[in-house]
C-alpha cells in the first residue's frame, strides 16, 4: 500500500520528465496524461484496499491515507487526468500557432506535473506541518503556470496570486503552530505528536482557547487558497490569465486541496469545541463567498472570470455545507466537491477550445458556439446547466442534500437564503453563457488544430467529464456511497 501511495504522488512527474527530455507538446502531453492515469488508478486501488479498514500509516505519520484522503486523491487525480488530456490539444495548438515558444511549452509541462504531484502528496501526509510545506510549494508551482504567457497582465495576475496565497498560507502556518501549542499538555515531543490522527485522538486534551485561534487562522489561511471571500481576490485574475487546462487544475484541484486542509482542522476543532464555533466561522465565510460570487457573475465580460467567480460561489456552498454539519451536510459537501470538480474541469477545458477558435476571452464576442463547434458548444451548455445545479446532473443531487442538511440542523433561514442565492447565481451565469452558445457564429472559424486526432483528444475529456456528471446525477454508485460514508466517519460528527 505504501508503494501504491508513493506511486500515486510521483507518477504525474512523467510529464516533467518528458518535458526536460525536450519532447514536443504532443508527446509531453501524452506522457502527462499517462502519468495522471496511473495516479488515478493508484488512488482507486488505495480506496478499494482501504474500504473501512485501518488507514495507511507509515514513517511516523508523514505518510497517512484514510478514506477522506483517498476520496480527495481520487478527485484530484481525476481532474489531473482530464486537464492533462485537455493539455495535449491545447498546448500543441498554441505551439503550432507560435503563441507559446519551445521553452514555454517545456516550462508548462514541468510545472503542470510538479503542481499535480505536490497536491497529491499534500493529500497523503498526516503531518500538519508537512501539509503546509506541500500546499505552499504547490502555490509556487502553479504560479509559474499562471504567469506562463509572459504578458504584463498574466505576470501581474501571477504576482497577485503568489503574494496573496503565500501570505495566506503563512497565516495557516501560524494556525498550525497554535494547534500544536494547544496540545502542550500532551508533550508533543516526537514527530508522531504532530500528526492529524494523533491530535484527533487526543482532542479532549487540547487547550480550547488556543485551538479556537488555530481553527480561525487555518480557515483564513487555507481559505485564501480555497478562494473564500474576502480572501478570494487573487482567484478571478489567476483563472483568467492561466492557460485553460491550468485554470481547470486551479479551480478543480487546487481549491479542493485547500478545502481538504480546512476539513482536517475542522475535525479536530469539532471534537474539542463542539459545533457552535466552527459552524459560525464556516457559515460566515461560506455565505460571504456565495454572495460575492453571485454578485460578480452578474457583470458580463471575460468568460473565464465568470467561471472563476462561480468557483468562489461553489467553494462557499461547500463551506456552508460543512458548517451545517451532520451526516447529510458532510456527505453533501464531499459529493459537491467531486461534482464541482468535474463540472468546472469540463467548463474550463471547453473555454480553452473556445478561446483558441474565437481568439478572444470576452463572452460578448462569442456567439453561435452550438452551430460552429457542436461538441464544445454542447459541452459548455450542459456543463453550465450542471454547474448551476439543474437536474439531471450531479450538482443537483449534492445541492439538494446540502439544503436538506440545512433544514435538519440550523434555523431554516440559512437554507432559504442559500436557495435564494443559488437562484441569483443561476440567472447571472446563464445570462452570459446562453449568449455564447446560441445565435449565429461570426463567419467561418479556422480550426486551430493540426489534425483530426487533436480534435478528438480535445473533445474526449469534455465527453468523459459530462458522462461522469450525468451518472452522478442519476444515482450515487454503491462504491462511491461507501467511500463517502467512510469519509464522513473519518471527519466525525
Amino acid at each position: 500500500m505504501t508503494a501504491l501511495a508513493i506511486l500515486a504522488a510521483l507518477s504525474p512527474l512523467a510529464g516533467p520528465a518528458a518535458a526536460i527530455a525536450d519532447a514536443r507538446a504532443r508527446l509531453a502531453g501524452i506522457a502527462q496524461a499517462a502519468g495522471a492515469a496511473i495516479a488515478l488508478g493508484c488512488s482507486l486501488a488505495l480506496l478499494v484496499m482501504l474500504d473501512g479498514r485501518a488507514p495507511l500509516f507509515a514513517w511516523d505519520g508523514f505518510l497517512y491515507v484514510d478514506s477522506l484522503g483517498g476520496f480527495f486523491l481520487m478527485t484530484v487525480a481525476g481532474v489531473t487526468l482530464l486537464a492533462a488530456v485537455g493539455s495535449i490539444g491545447y498546448i500543441a495548438a498554441q505551439e503550432d500557432s507560435g503563441e507559446l515558444g519551445r521553452f514555454q511549452v517545456r516550462l508548462y509541462f514541468t510545472f503542470f506535473g510538479l503542481f499535480a504531484s505536490l497536491m497529491l502528496a499534500a493529500l497523503e501526509t498526516g503531518n500538519l506541518g508537512l501539509l503546509f510545506v506541500l500546499v505552499e510549494a504547490s502555490t509556487l508551482a502553479s504560479a509559474a503556470l499562471v504567469g506562463l504567457e509572459g504578458r504584463a497582465r498574466s505576470l501581474e495576475a501571477a504576482w497577485k496570486y503568489v503574494i496573496i496565497s503565500s501570505l495566506g498560507v503563512t497565516i495557516a502556518l501560524a494556525g498550525t503552530l497554535f494547534l500544536f501549542y494547544s496540545g502542550s499538555a500532551l508533550h508533543l515531543g516526537s514527530n508522531l505528536g504532530l500528526t492529524w490522527p494523533y491530535l484527533l485522538a487526543h482532542a479532549t486534551a487540547l487547550a480550547p482557547q488556543a485551538l479556537r485561534l488555530a481553527f480561525l487562522l487555518a480557515v483564513v489561511g487555507y481559505g485564501t487558497k480555497v478562494g473564500l471571500a474576502p480572501m478570494h481576490t487573487w482567484l478571478p485574475d489567476a483563472h483568467a490569465e492561466a492557460p485553460s487546462p491550468a485554470s481547470a487544475m486551479l479551480s478543480a484541484a487546487l481549491l479542493n486541496t485547500g478545502m481538504y486542509a480546512i476539513i482536517r482542522f475542522l475535525a479536530i476543532a469539532q471534537a474539542r469545541l463542539g459545533h457552535t464555533y466552527p459552524r459560525a466561522v464556516l457559515l460566515s465565510f461560506g455565505f460571504a463567498s456565495i454572495v460575492i460570487g453571485a454578485l460578480f457573475m452578474v457583470r458580463r465580460g471575460n468568460f473565464k472570470r465568470l467561471f472563476a467567480y462561480s468557483s468562489v460561489e461553489h467553494m462557499g456552498i461547500i463551506a456552508v455545507a460543512l458548517g451545517f454539519g451532520g451526516v447529510l451536510g458532510l456527505y453533501g459537501a464531499l459529493l459537491q466537491t467531486l461534482n464541482h470538480a468535474l463540472a468546472k474541469a469540463v467548463l474550463f477545458l471547453s473555454s480553452g477550445d473556445v478561446s483558441l477558435r474565437y481568439q478572444t476571452r470576452e463572452a460578448a464576442q462569442v456567439s453561435g458556439l452550438l452551430a460552429a463547434v457542436p461538441v464544445t458548444g454542447g459541452a459548455l451548455l450542459l456543463a453550465s446547466f450542471a454547474v448551476l445545479g439543474s437536474p439531471p446532473f450531479g450538482l443537483f443531487l449534492s445541492e439538494l442534500t446540502i439544503v436538506r442538511a440545512g433544514f435538519a440542523s440550523a434555523s431554516p433561514v440559512f437554507p432559504l437564503l442559500l436557495l435564494a442565492l443559488l437562484g441569483l447565481a443561476f440567472v447571472a451565469f446563464a445570462r452570459s453563457t446562453a449568449g455564447m452558445v446560441t445565435g449565429r457564429p461570426p463567419g467561418r472559424l479556422a480550426s486551430p488544430y493540426r489534425d483530426r486526432a487533436a480534435v478528438a483528444v480535445t473533445a474526449a475529456p469534455l465527453v468523459l467529464g459530462l458522462a461522469a456528471l450525468l451518472v452522478l446525477g442519476l444515482w450515487v454508485p454503491a462504491g462511491l456511497d461507501t467511500i463517502l460514508r467512510h469519509s464522513v466517519a473519518v471527519i466525525g460528527l
Binding site: F62, N127, G129, L130, F132, V133, L134, E136, A137, L140, A143, A144, G147, G150, R151, A152, L155, E156, A158, W159, V162, I163, S166, L167, T170, I171, L173, A174, L177, F178, F180, Y181, S184, L188, G189, S190, N191, G193, L194, Q209, A210, L213
Partner: protein
C-alpha cells in the same frame, strides 16, 4: 519550550531578540528607500538566528543549532545579497514612491496593531511568567506589521520584503511556542521560502521590464 521561565538568562535573551525584531519591523515600515528595506530585513534575520541559537543552548537541541545556522546563511545573508544584486541594483530602485498612505499614518497604524497583538494574545492564551507569554505577542505584532507594509506599499519589491518579514514573525513564534517542530518540516519551510523568493524575483523583473517597455511605448506615441 513553553515552560521556559521569562526570568532565566535564555528567556531574557529571547525576549530581547523579540523586541529587536519588532523594532526592525517598525524601522522597515518607516523607511522609504529600497536599500534600507533589504538592510533592515537582513538585520532582523541575523537577530532571529541569534534567538534560535539561544533556544538551542537552552534546550541542548542540535536541530535548533542547524536551524540557527540556516537562518543566518539563507535569510541573513543569501536573500539580502540576492535581493540587492538582482532587484535593487539591477532594476536601479532607489526611493519607493508607491505608497497608499503617508509614513506617519502607517506608523500610527503599526502602533495600533502592536497594541492589538498584546490585547489578543496576552490574557487567556499563554500562562503568565513564561517566555512564550513575552515573545508570542511580539511575534504576532511582527506578522501584523509585515502584512501592513504589504498592504500600504504597492511596489512589488516592497511587498516581497513584507512577506519575508511576516515569515520571520512566524518563525519567531515557532521557536518559542513549539521548539519540537520536526526538522523535515522546518527544512521544507526554508525550501519554500527560497523557491518563493526565486519565483517572485522572476516575476518582479518580468513585470518591471514590461512596465518599462509600456512607458517607453507611451513616450513614442506622444512624440507627435
Amino acid at each position: 519550550m513553553e515552560n521556559l521561565a521569562a526570568t532565566s538568562t535564555a528567556g531574557v535573551l529571547l525576549a530581547l531578540s523579540g523586541v529587536l525584531i519588532l523594532l526592525l519591523a517598525f524601522a522597515c515600515l518607516a523607511s522609504k528607500l529600497f536599500n534600507r528595506y533589504v538592510a533592515y530585513y537582513g538585520a532582523q534575520s541575523v537577530v532571529l538566528s541569534f534567538a534560535a541559537a539561544t533556544a538551542a543552548v537552552a534546550f541542548h537541541s542540535a536541530e535548533l543549532w542547524i536551524l540557527a545556522a540556516l537562518t543566518l546563511a539563507v535569510k541573513g545573508i543569501a536573500i539580502p545579497v540576492a535581493a540587492r544584486r538582482l532587484l535593487v541594483r539591477r532594476l536601479a530602485l532607489k526611493r519607493d514612491a508607491a505608497m497608499s498612505t503617508g509614513l506617519s499614518t502607517s506608523l500610527i497604524a503599526g502602533g495600533a496593531l502592536t497594541a492589538f497583538a498584546y490585547l489578543v494574545i496576552r490574557p487567556a492564551l499563554l500562562p503568565h511568567g513564561t517566555v512564550a507569554a513575552a515573545v508570542v505577542p511580539l511575534s504576532t505584532a511582527v506578522i501584523l506589521l509585515g502584512s501592513l507594509s504589504m498592504v500600504v506599499r504597492r511596489h512589488t519589491v516592497a511587498q516581497l520584503i513584507g512577506w519575508l518579514i511576516v515569515e520571520n514573525g512566524v518563525f519567531l513564534g515557532a521557536i518559542t511556542l513549539v521548539a519540537t517542530f520536526p526538522f523535515i518540516v522546518e527544512a521544507g519551510i526554508f525550501l519554500d521560502i527560497v523557491a518563493g523568493v526565486l519565483i517572485m524575483v522572476v516575476f518582479v523583473s518580468g513585470l518591471t521590464r514590461q512596465l518599462a517597455e509600456a512607458s517607453a511605448a507611451e513616450l513614442r506615441e506622444l512624440r507627435g
